[in-house]
């Protein structure tokens, strides 16, 4: 399935071949990833779904050069993950907002810009633009602890967008939020994706979230962490929240659920 280019139509942003990662622990080896072959093309919205321990977060961290694979190859933007990280070619959104409490919202968004050496005027313009993109205008001078959890996570998305990386890696960004806030942020995220044309890799353990957001759903299963199914979504690009009631949507959700169940069949 690891096709690089499709007649020049789309370019691979992330390409993994036979990727494996084994953690050495005191209790012996833990196989977090085994023989993962995957291709993420430019402009795709790819969700990784699976129970905990299936290696979905680990895979995202390998792309981000936060973990080192023990076998196989992976390229990000055609280079090694380490080079991609040094080139600042991706933005990472963590499970928690991880905003610095001593910085205001605008200063938090400015953090990567300061580190990457953007000029003062450029910085201000980018802060304004990204905060507008996540609907946080007017909260520039607030501190993170003065905002709700949903607003904090939006600020952390703004921070990941501020330096215009083409690839956005999101590790269960809405996992800690309640259903209503989550629905809202999901539709916001789709709009943002349409507006910015970014490639998004999104880790989740919610089936509706994965189906609603993605153009491609990667179903994973644990022990050892591996890919069991890759589903190309036939849903249209324009997705109102009501799309979740349609038969097409439910059919994909069913297939994801079947994939997850298959991965679980040998245990419990």
């Amino acid at each position: 399935m690891s096709l690089t280019t499709d007649g020049g139509k789309s370019v691979s942003v992330v390409e993994a071949k036979g990727l494996g990662l084994t953690f050495k622990t005191a209790d012996g080896d833990v196989i977090a990833l085994s023989d993962v072959n995957l291709d993420i093309r430019r402009g795709e919205f790819v969700s990784f779904i699976g129970p905990s321990g299936c290696g979905k977060t680990t895979f995202l961290r390998v792309i981000a050069d936060l973990e080192q694979p023990t076998s196989g190859t992976i390229t990000v933007n055609g280079t090694s993950p380490a080079d991609a990280r040094v080139n600042r070619s991706y933005g990472y959104v963590f499970q928690a907002p991880a905003l610095f409490p001593w910085r205001t919202i605008e200063k938090n968004v400015a953090l990567p810009l300061e580190i990457m050496g953007y000029g003062e005027a450029d910085r201000r313009e980018r802060i304004r633009k990204t905060l507008e993109l996540v609907n946080l205008e007017g909260f520039e001078k607030k501190f993170p602890w003065q905002l709700s959890g949903g607003m904090q996570q939006r600020a952390s998305i703004a921070r990941a967008l501020a330096f215009d990386a083409d690839l956005l890696l999101m590790d269960e960004p809405f996992g800690a939020l309640d259903e209503i806030v989550r629905d809202h942020l999901n539709s916001e995220l789709l709009k943002l994706w349409a507006a910015t044309q970014k490639t998004i890799a999104f880790v989740t353990h919610s089936i509706p979230e994965a189906v609603y957001l993605s153009t491609k759903i990667v179903v994973m299963s644990p022990r050892p962490g591996r890919v069991t199914d890759v589903i190309e979504s036939p849903l249209p690009a324009e997705r109102p929240l009501e799309i979740r009631e349609t038969p097409e949507f439910l059919a994909i959700a069913h297939r994801v659920r079947e994939g997850l169940r298959a991965g679980h069949s040998y245990e419990e």
């Binding site: 040094v86 963590f94 991880a98 953090l111 300061e114």
Partner: protein
Amino acid sequence: MSMLQRVLAAFAAGFALLALVFEFASTEGAPLPVWEFPAVGAFLVLAILSLVRFRLKLSFWGDGGLAALGAMALMLALDTIQQAEAGYWFALVSAWLFAWLFAERLSGAISKGKVGDAVGMLIPLVFGVAILVAWEAITRGGNVPKVLLPAPSGIWTMLTGNIPQIAADFQQTFMKSVLAGYVLGCGSGFLVAIAVDRSPFLKRGLLPLGNFISALPLIGIAPIMVMWFGFDWPSKAAVVVIMTFFPMLVNTVAGLNVAGHMERDLMRTYASGYWSTLFKLRLPAAAPFIFNALKINSTLALIGAIVAEFFGTPIVGMGFRISSEIGKLNVEMVWAEIAVAALAGSVFYWVVALVERAVTFWHPSVRGGRA
């Protein structure tokens, strides 16, 4: 009124009655009856009359006024009596109970929101004054030998009468030894902590050595520092450096490790270098620890400098003054220096704590929120 307040009110009036019954004081063995002191008599009579509170409403300001009147009358009486007798002590207890009752009712009124929070400043003030009044009354009324415990008024007279000398001592000990030693000790502890954090070799080599230095006894170090750096303030500053270095070192090393994994990963995704991660993430996160050390050291530094002056010093300095005046049994001067040292230490601590609040405003412990 609460149960406690009822009991306090009843006992305050009861002790006032006892004060009227018992012998008040004596001079040269001759008894001095209470009616020779109209102010005290007025206080005692009003105190007994305050029992009407069980029928009518009596403001807590009334209790405050009674406590103040009683304290003032008893202080003035000290000038004429030679030996306080049972009546005097009962009156003192009565005034003290009124002060307690006042503070009790005032804090109750504040928590119910009946009076402003600013009035709450009165409570520690009442507490402090009550201690001073009791101290003055016991030392002078009970004729406690000065060598054991001088009266606050005597200490105050000594303090105000020797301002130039005490100011010179303060200048020598605090402005020179303490501040120089504090800045050098905290500064070097901080820098070494960053080096230790950077290098595993130093972590193994220097951290145990820092521990070793902190375990050295002050009394052994001080004379050696005098040998090395001379009699003047630099040797005292050196002792302060040794005392303040280690708390700063361990606190900063601990603080540099509190930044979370997620925040570190975040900096890594930005390909942030060592120094930019240090200044933008790890040091701000370590600030509460660093200020902890600064606060501990603010009082340690003063103790170190004063004790160090016991081991060779020019004829100026708070520690020198204490050691030489105690030799002359001029205990009031010793207490005056102690008072100045305590005040200076408190103000120093308070200033550091104030800066801490401004810098670590974001920390849950300061803003009173959740993490």
